[in-house]
Symmetry: C2
Subunit: 277 residues, 2 copies
DNA sequence: AAGTAGTAACTACTACAGTAACTACTCCCT
DNA sequence: AGGGAGTAGTTACTGTAGTAGTTACTACTT
């Protein structure tokens, strides 16, 4: 079973050794068994199995039962194992949170830019920010990237985060996004894709993304920069949504539309809105 | 700061090395800084600091910023760090849960007894079970132990779990528990304390608990055994609650009282109740 | 004799902690 | 102008603990 190998890795990430993970998983499938048998089913050398079981017993992930002459072992119910780790991690997280409140000072105005390289890391970081989003996500994104963040986006939408922006691709998966009107031309032309994502008016990620290591985006927390980036997407939206009307109306009408987009569609707060007036 | 040392341990439990933990924590307190400065504030040898920072950069817990000739580093916001680990652990837990559904078969009727030794491990395991309780916790417990499980008990009560039983001690902290009527005599006599705890009619822990390693309790999942243990506490409750009346009423009345206690006070389901008739 | 059950002692490898020594640059002092 | 002190970064090494993996042994059962 290849499946079991992945779970071994998972358990190692929880702090078990490879032997401990294998022993526990083998025990799940067959119990109660004695050390000798477990060594056979798990592939752990007989000479080591008792140390491994001892260590698991100590962590209360395995229990020993005396049966006349010999001991047999059984695993902790996996649900209880998960509960055990959850409890322990929750307390760790709480400690870290309390501690960081004391020593960590957020920079209010951070004008520095940070470069993140490599598609995997970019996607990872993007997911992290979206996961943490509380109010609004504005993006301008291509179909090649949308799948890699759709889970996090759906979660965000679920908990009431406003999603807005431009979608470059066919079969737009989000009604909240507007497909670019000249998408066919773009799709045939580009190998590299410009991307912008802003989160809660705090973070902005922008840059060029492609398949591999050469992808490179910039992360900024400068509020002006975020505003600018959101503005860029607002404009893009504007043009794409009202392109037809723009040809026949005057400049004033155009401005009204812009305000309308910002307020109604983009869910700007009054305060945010004032900054643009 | 001794506080920081504990957090280093916490971070190590999340999979960081000691140097990584120290570096990250030092960065929290002062950033952005270059490698040289960080090595000084964190106590990490200058010769190692760049490897450590590289590794942290790879995990995206630290970000590098080019500043004309040299690099400076800043930490990932601790809140995002917590979110990152939570996400990763949640997915691990999900994997384990799914996997265990496939391979793990719960024993329906488990008549075997398992011995747990050492006060710390007993308390730990007790907390684990209480944490997982869904319907009813019945216990007979001494004041020496109640504090070590009160957090878990309060959580359980909060989510609607029924708590019932006997309390051996002064200043009974739970209205759901009944203080033993001859507690003063008991308190002066005993060094070792008999304890019973049943959870959801599934688990029962019983045995002698004292201060140290010689404490030893037995864990059973045999349903009959659980019933018996609950019955023991019911009787104890009965005697303590209605002691006065017992002297003047007949046997019939006594039985009625017992039923009443089981049904009304103990929240037995009809099904559970039938087993006793 | 073959299989079962458990112990002891070891080798090998790796990750991490910890140290020493080197280059190179800047700034300040006299 | 030259030297010392502090800053900044790099290379290479030692030591150790934990883990993986192996071999050899005893003892008991059937």
């Amino acid at each position: 079973m290849n499946d079991a190998l992945l779970i071994v890795e998972d358990l190692k990430n929880l702090g078990l050794t490879e032997y401990e993970a294998k022993a526990y998983l083998s025990l799940l499938e067959e119990y109660p068994v004695n050390g000798y048998t477990l060594s056979k089913t798990s592939g752990i050398p007989r000479s080591r199995i008792y140390e491994v079981l001892d260590s698991l017993k100590n962590k209360q992930l395995v229990f020993e039962q005396m049966e006349d002459t010999m001991s047999v072992y059984k695993p902790l119910d996996p649900k209880l194992l998960i509960g055990k780790f959850k409890k322990s991690f929750d307390s760790i997280f709480y400690h870290i949170e309390e501690y960081s409140k004391k020593v960590y000072l957020k920079e209010e105005n951070d004008h520095k830019l940070i470069v993140i390289q490599g598609r995997d890391k970019i996607i990872d970081f993007l997911n992290l920010l979206i996961h943490d989003a509380k109010r609004r996500i504005v993006l301008s994104i291509w179909e090649e990237e949308i799948n890699d963040i759709s889970q996090a986006l759906n979660d965000a939408i679920q908990r009431g985060v406003v999603l807005r922006g431009m979608y470059f691709g066919r079969n737009n998966p989000y009604e909240q996004l507007v497909t670019h009107r000249r998408i066919e031309r773009h799709l045939s032309e580009k190998k590299e894709r410009y991307m912008t994502v802003t989160v809660d008016g705090i973070h902005v990620l922008y840059g060029i993304i492609s398949r591999g290591e050469d992808s490179q985006i910039t992360w900024a927390k400068d509020p002006d920069f975020v505003d600018m980036s959101e503005d860029y997407v607002v404009h893009d939206l504007m043009v794409n949504l009202y392109a037809n009307q723009l040809d026949i109306k005057q400049r004033e009408e155009y401005e009204k539309f812009l305000d309308h987009v910002r307020k109604e569609y983009f869910a700007f707060t009054e305060e945010e809105f004032k900054k643009f007036k």
